[in-house]
Symmetry: C2
Subunit: 493 residues, 2 copies
Amino acid sequence: QELSPLYQGFEWLAPILKLLGMFLILLGSFKLAPVVLLFVEGQQEDTQVFFYSMLFTLLCGGVMVALGSLAPFNLRGRQIFLLTSLSWIVLSFFSSFPLLFGSTQLSVADAMFETISGLTTTGSTVLSGLDTMSHGILLWRAILQWLGGIGIIVMGMAILPFLQVGGMRLFQSESSDWSEKAMPRSGTIAKAIGKVYLGLTTLCIISYWLAGMNGFDALVHGLTTSATGGFANYDASMGHFADTPWILWITILFMFLGALPFVLYVHMIQGRPLPLLKDSQVRALAKILISAVVLMTLYLMTQHNWPWFEALTHAAFNVTSVVTTTGYASTDYNAWGTFAVIFFLYLMFVGGCSGSTSGGFKVFRHQLSIMLMRNQMMALLHPRGVFSQNYNGRHVPDDVIRSMVAFAFFFFATIAALALALSFMGLDFLTSFTAAVSAVANVGPGLGDTVGPAGNFSSLPDLGKAMISLGMILGRLEIVTFMILFTRAFWRA
Amino acid sequence: QELSPLYQGFEWLAPILKLLGMFLILLGSFKLAPVVLLFVEGQQEDTQVFFYSMLFTLLCGGVMVALGSLAPFNLRGRQIFLLTSLSWIVLSFFSSFPLLFGSTQLSVADAMFETISGLTTTGSTVLSGLDTMSHGILLWRAILQWLGGIGIIVMGMAILPFLQVGGMRLFQSESSDWSEKAMPRSGTIAKAIGKVYLGLTTLCIISYWLAGMNGFDALVHGLTTSATGGFANYDASMGHFADTPWILWITILFMFLGALPFVLYVHMIQGRPLPLLKDSQVRALAKILISAVVLMTLYLMTQHNWPWFEALTHAAFNVTSVVTTTGYASTDYNAWGTFAVIFFLYLMFVGGCSGSTSGGFKVFRHQLSIMLMRNQMMALLHPRGVFSQNYNGRHVPDDVIRSMVAFAFFFFATIAALALALSFMGLDFLTSFTAAVSAVANVGPGLGDTVGPAGNFSSLPDLGKAMISLGMILGRLEIVTFMILFTRAFWRA
Ligand SMILES: [K+]
Ligand SMILES: [K+]
């Protein structure tokens, strides 16, 4: 019996529909939190907006799950590419209603920008007047980042290695084995990681509260710190708490913890702390952070005559924030001079570890690049020599290197294209460039007066906001995962 | 009979000494041209300076050849690395005397900057008041670039492919075969290339003269155009001739011709024009140039309301000048707005063809990068597929790809480090960045008011000039050729 092409198409899309529907139901349920908060605070209008938006999201999710269940569940490579990309866009769309119709009354471009920035944990914002903003909106932004954070960990651990994107096959393990045999074990790891994420967030919230934040601030900043997201409750970002160095140091600690590979925490909890302590990527990140903080502290002390503790605190805070792609600011480091500006621009390219909540180029890719450069030097001296290609004590296959290299080229080409497009809209050199880097690396703030740590993205033209939003999604999906949908080969295969 | 380590060391250095000496004798002989010119023009003081500098150079060269001939001639891989790097530095040093002691009275940093900029065909200058400068100095600068140009062709054709630097093994051919059997044939090709270079230069000089330049201007600009060098006789660069579009279009043609692989001209003269016309790199360069010129012409017409011919001429001139890394300017394109600034910044990264006089990243590396990116996309869709790795109709071995990629990382890392170092000296963002790119890609002018097409490098601090000079040498030597001298492995092997 021949099946019609239309039904074949439906059968192909059905599992995607079903999973998207399940994600929407999850997203909808989380809208209950702002509903309750707004109701308690007596903000009737926003309560209604959130409530209806919750109902609509749950309804759409339910319909999609029902429709998707009509065909047998069968998920393969190409469908996973489509699902992964669609998830971020569809979820961002359904998350934007409260910002569109609530008290913020954002335009479509602004609302999509803010939710994409939230879910991708980029943390760039078009909102100002955060200090007096509706708590429902602030909580919702934080929830978006927190949900995005766990999405990114799962994607980096299970999906991208399986799809072999950007050299991530290096991190192929039980958790990215999708065979039926391995599924139960993968499920266990996923649950353990969920628990770790929840535990880390709770710890962060409690620490903030003990250090003197009020309950709401502790909750929101706890959510956005663990997610290395960077949305804050104040226009001055964490600069609002600059008088309490304790809070800044707690942030530094948890931003760092959020940028480590979460699977290593699971090992640690299972009684094996060694993988975390000996992991080559973790050690490299720590070394990069320490060197950059020392350098910037000395710079602030010698060139700007800051006292040592103030210099150390703000250097450590902002360096860690940019390297882990969190994007909080404790002060306007854009005003520290050209050397600092270029230095922070480079830090944007570092990125955290793979399998963490952070974005960017990622530490392991820098390590592989340096290994390539070193091997090249040796090959020039010993043309017939063969040089080991090891990472973290294991051999790195050539195809991993190739896909890492291709990722590097895609990454820089995307940033270059985005910067050129932004400059065409009349943005200045520094703004165009750093807004592009900040979006694709999911850092949040750029540099310069407009999009820098003291600025805001609201003054950008709508088309520019749309392009930056696209850049955030591209960056979050390691570019190729998304770009591949626009090749003829994808739809012909 | 055991040889002392000291003698062994001398035996190792002797062939390097001998060849350096021969280069010095060549350089010294070329100083005769300014000596004669200055003598005829009656500039007694400068005549003497050039004369003594010529004698000194010839003397040193002679002594080195004599010393080097005391040991048997035996040149191997590591010695060639050292010789190649030393050549640029030693020749620059001996070329700087007339600028140090002549009427220009430059400081050591300035004189070294100017000669390194000359020999590497970068074309950045610290001199101003060119319009009224001693003809001897102007001619000497042009000769430096012209000699540098032929040096670069030979290096790109015979030495770098042999050393397997930066993916240049792709262009390994008879001319880079150093075995004794192939030597006579290589010699023939080298001579043919020398003739082509001389012929092209002569053609360029005559064209300039016919188009209305005076004899001296035609000579100097002919030398610096064929070498894609970019030194001009006027502070306004080729803007001095902007009223004669003929001259600008002649420059465009010869800059393009200078950026093509010279070995293909030899084929053409031997009756095989097909390799030149069908060469993948040549076609790609032509496509890049045409697209960039069309885009920039439309930009000038629509955003700045320029008439079409003026827009086309200045777009074609400055785009070709930057892409071929010549570095002439027909007008201050830095003032065309941020979009143009970023666009020209990107053009600096294009570079000409391998085996030409031009510098930069080079077109073939962009082509290989795009091939890598395309293959990566296909590999994601067909994880078990094997994709052909072809360039110009031939298979590209993996080690060529690896060394190309390593070069790319070295290239960008060098630019990044240089930009950061320059920013530490108080240069602004645009200046630091574009001065770094311009130096490493051997373009000449950067962007911005200081080092842009209307600016001048003289106001930079001496340390900055020294670092930019180092950047030019690094770029010219495809970075690794020079960096390898600073590894422990090089001196231990
Ligand atoms: K962020
Ligand atoms: K040049």
